[in-house]
Amino acid sequence: MELLLFLAASLRISVPYALAAVGASFSERGGVINIALEGIMLHGALAYTLAAYWTGNPWLGLLAAVVAGVLTAALHALVTVVVKADQITSGLGINLLAAGLTRFVLIQVFHSSSNSPRVVGLPEWDLFGLRRLPALGGTIAAPLMLIAIALTLGAQWLVFRSVFGLRLRSMGERPEAAASLGLSVPLYRTLGVLLSGAFAGLAGAWLASEQHSFTDGMTGGRGYIAIAAMIVGKWSPLGAAAACLLFGAAEALQITLQGSGIPSEPLQMLPYLVTMLALAGFIGRAVAPRADGVPYDPEKS
């Protein structure tokens, strides 16, 4: 039972990471580094809260979060794919913008610089009686949990088994070659970024729905951990989700250890250390798509 509860906690913690990390693999497989995940999640969380607050309907909140995520990602696509500016700088700029903008809106709408009032969360889904599973039931029945699992499997298929995925991956490996086949590099790269925005928006919605409110800076670096998980998962949706489970378990363990006198900081560092080791080639070689992060500009090549 203890173990099941721990597993349930790990799963719950992993959901936002996994949604954002799985989404990131679309963007990066298409050749666009998306460090803006942090800001996109923040916008998603705020959009969920605002919509749920004004309409009282959590599903409209979910929709608003996806729209906000896609719009923020569109800004990233505009700067990186259309204007062809540096992708990492754009992501950081968006994160700074989102941190300020969400607080600005929080103050304007809720007259508080720290948090929103309580809003409704997403209701549980009782599919196939899963709800009655011991310990895990409440976790499995969370709609975004089921959606996250389905989306991860769907993303894996889309990236590696579909025509769209093959084309998207070619944009991240050899965009010149893809362009010579008559495919539009900007179109596919933009679609990759927008998909990643939709996923990160959902991740933000999960955070706000779980907490029943928006708090300032509530993403707390999760966007960056999602990037890290995607790297450890070798730029594949399934791998990214698996890495998120590992990171989620580390965080669950940290919470379990609270108050036990064992310092939690070494566990806090674990995801970051694992990522650095993976990048240095100690845990299997993590190699980025060849053209990941390189703007495609036929004028310059």
Binding site: V79, L97, A280
Partner: protein
């Protein structure tokens, strides 16, 4: 990925395109265009919440640059940005993107506090020198790690510096706990011998503002970076690696070593920035003191076009903006200024690309 960030200077080949002077002039307009458009966007937000943009901007200008106290506040806010902007700019020049400046700055301040506390009884000048050196050393170490990983394993410095930021935050709360005052997240007060004097003791006009001698260190660092980059062999190598690493390798530059050295120096400059808060202002270390100054350094470097003089000017601009944001907080939430900083970054890299394309078509 060696994708050069937006504000890298034009390569000689690019510069050959079009009438050189006009193309260069056009490119140098990018930061100004970015700032102007960002302020216009800010004006829309200010108008949207029912305030008059012109009177708000006038108030910001008056309060941050129109009084001795305001100028002192602006200088104080600009000081850490000179350090972090220089750190990012130096990395950019060597083709490296140091996003770890925030963590390097944080560790620099932490190391300064620990060493300053430990050297309590030492002769003041020596203790002060060692304390400042500790800040630089801690930053250098934290910068060198991703540099060496890049040189040795080809591991991407952007991801590693992001990871090292988070590790620095966790590490400092772990290592700092035994040194914190009961029920606080700050250390004890440092002895007066390791304090950096307030500038208002020299310039009474700045009375009451927290600007301190860290500013002099910052300006010295800017001069040193200028000399290093443009007057020394090492600087030449760093710039050669930044412009074209394979060509530099052909020319006999040890590329990996140059990258590792560049990251260490960049980290050292960032770490030095910690003295502004710890030795010059509060005289203790406190968790979270950096408050994003490291990330803002990226904007400073971009707007300053990775040149030490440009960095100093950009730091003053962002310093004024940041203090101006506090002044108007009663009427317009200061968070607007934070959002504008992000917008400035997006516009700066976009304007550079667009103007660069126009410049290339002028041939």
């Amino acid at each position: 990925m060696s994708a050069a960030p937006g504000a890298l200077p034009a390569t000689p080949a690019e510069r050959g395109a079009g009438p050189p002077a006009r193309a260069a002039l056009l490119r140098s307009l990018a930061p100004l265009a970015a700032v102007a458009v960002a302020l216009a966007i800010g004006a829309i937000f200010i108008a949207a919440i029912g305030e008059d943009p012109l009177s708000i901007y006038a108030l910001m200008l008056r309060e941050s640059l129109g009084t001795g106290y305001g100028i002192g506040q602006t200088l104080f806010k600009a000081t850490p940005l000179v350090f972090t902007g220089l750190a990012v700019a130096l990395g950019f020049r060597a083709g490296l993107f140091n996003i770890g400046v925030e963590g390097q700055l944080y560790l620099g301040g932490f190391a300064a506090a620990l060493v300053g506390l430990g050297l309590g009884g030492w002769p003041a000048p020596l203790a002060l020198a060692l304390t400042i050196a500790a800040a630089a050393a801690a930053g250098a170490l934290w910068g060198a790690i991703p540099g060496v990983l890049k040189a040795r394993f080809g591991a991407h410095e952007v991801i590693n510096t992001i990871m090292l930021n988070f590790i620095a935050f966790a590490l400092v709360s772990y290592l700092g706990r035994p040194h914190f005052e009961p029920a606080t997240v700050r250390t004890a007060e440092l002895a007066a011998g390791v304090h950096l004097a307030r500038l208002d003791t020299l310039l009474p006009a700045l009375r009451g503002s927290p600007a301190n001698l860290s500013l002099a260190i910052a300006l010295a660092a800017a001069a040193a970076v200028g000399v290093l980059l443009f007057r020394t062999r090492l600087g030449y190598e760093l710039r050669a690696v930044g412009l074209n690493a394979p060509a530099a390798a052909c020319g006999g530059v040890a590329v990996g070593r140059a990258q590792a050295v560049a990251m260490a120096i960049s980290g050292a400059i960032a770490g030095l920035g910690g003295v502004n808060f710890v030795l010059g202002y509060k005289h203790f270390f406190e968790l979270g003191f950096t408050a994003g100054a490291g990330f803002l350094g990226i904007a400073v470097a971009l707007i300053g076009r990775n040149h030490p003089l440009g960095v100093v000017a950009a730091a003053l601009f962002f310093g004024a903006l940041s203090y101006g944001g506090l002044v108007i907080n009663q009427r317009v939430p200061k968070e607007l200024v934070e959002a504008l900083q992000g917008i400035v970054i997006l516009l700066a890299i976009s304007a550079h690309e667009v103007l660069d394309r126009i410049a290339r078509r002028m041939r």
